[in-house]
Symmetry: C3
Subunit: 142 residues, 3 copies
Amino acid sequence: MKVSARNQFKGTVSEVRPGSVYSEVLVRLKGGATLVAMITKESVASLAIAPGKEVIAMIKAPHVILVTDFGGYRISARNQLEGKVVQVKPGAINSEVDIELSGGEKVAATVTNESVESLGLRQGQTATAIFKAGSVILAVTE
Amino acid sequence: MKVSARNQFKGTVSEVRPGSVYSEVLVRLKGGATLVAMITKESVASLAIAPGKEVIAMIKAPHVILVTDFGGYRISARNQLEGKVVQVKPGAINSEVDIELSGGEKVAATVTNESVESLGLRQGQTATAIFKAGSVILAVTE
Amino acid sequence: MKVSARNQFKGTVSEVRPGSVYSEVLVRLKGGATLVAMITKESVASLAIAPGKEVIAMIKAPHVILVTDFGGYRISARNQLEGKVVQVKPGAINSEVDIELSGGEKVAATVTNESVESLGLRQGQTATAIFKAGSVILAVTE
C-alpha cells in the first residue's frame, strides 16, 4: 500500500466499543502500545473490523501534538505515546519532528518552528506524541 | 463567501442520519461523487440541514491523504475520491498536490515531500484523495 | 506545560452534554467567548471534566479555517471566533496568520499562501477563525 500518511502502525484490533454513529476501536501495536481510533459504525461493518483483525493505523503528521513537559496537566486526547526525538527537519514555518517509541515505532509530527524553540526539541529529548482518536484511519486487507 | 479552506465542493444533501451527538450528512456533488460529513446534531438543527438542501462542503488540504496503490488494502475513511494529479507545488517540507476528479472537481492535499517521492506523485498519475467524515465542514445559505 | 499546539486557551467548563461515545464540552474563555470540544466519554470521566473545572483548550493551527466574507453563508463548525489579523508570517506554501479576538486571546491559523492572497489577509483586517469541536483537546490539572 502506498499512502501519504507519514504515520503507519501495524497492529491487531483488541476491542470494538460501538456508539450511535462512531465506534471506538482499540488497536494493539507490535511494540506494545495501544492506539484508539474513532471509526464510523458503517466502516466498522463494511471493513469487518473486529477483535483479532490485523490493521494498519494511519495518522497524518499535522494531527500530532508534542508535549515535553506536562507540568502537572493531564490531556484529553486518547493517544499519548512517549518516546525520544530522533530527528528535527526544519522548514520555513513548520518542522517535522520524528519521535522513536520504546517499542521501536516512529511517530512524525509537524509542528511550528516556534514550538521547536519553545519546547527545546532536539535529538535525544524525551517527548510525548499526542493525537485524538478521531485523527486515526484504519486500513485492512482481505 | 471567502474562506481559507482549499477544498470547497458544491452539492446537495441526500441523507441525514442522526446519532446521539453527531449526525452523518451525505452530500451529492455536482460531479456525481458523494461525500460524508460528521456534523453535530446542534449544527444540523441550527443550519436546517436536510435532504434537498444545497451546501458547500469544505475540507482543509492538510486533512487529505493520498493513496496511489491500495495493495489489497481497504481504508476506513468514508471519503475516497479517485482522480488524476494535475499539479505538484513543492515547499521546504510539504508539497501541495492537486487531484482532478472525473466529475471535474479538484481536491488539494498537503503531503510531505517524502510522500511525493515515495508515492511517485507527478502530473497525470492516478491517485485517491482520502479524508475522514469528521474533517468536513458544511456551509449553507438561506 | 510545554505543548506544541499553537492555540492554548484558559477557560472554565460551563456544560457537559454526554453522547454515546463522545461528550460535548462547553468551555467559557477568560475573554468571554465559548468554545465547544468533542471529548470521548472515557476522557471526560478519567479527567473528571465537569462544570466549573478549569481547563486549557488546545487547537493546532492547521485545523483553523479563516473566513473574511460569509457572503450570506452560515457554517456548521461549532467554533467561530471573530477578530483582527495582527500578523501574517509567510512560508513557501503556507502562511501562519494570527488573529486577535476582542477578548484579547490570539488564534493562529495555518493557511495556504493562495488563501492569504484570495482573502486579502493582512494586518488590521477582520477575520473569523473557524474550527470543528472535534479538533479541540482539553488539558486539566489536579
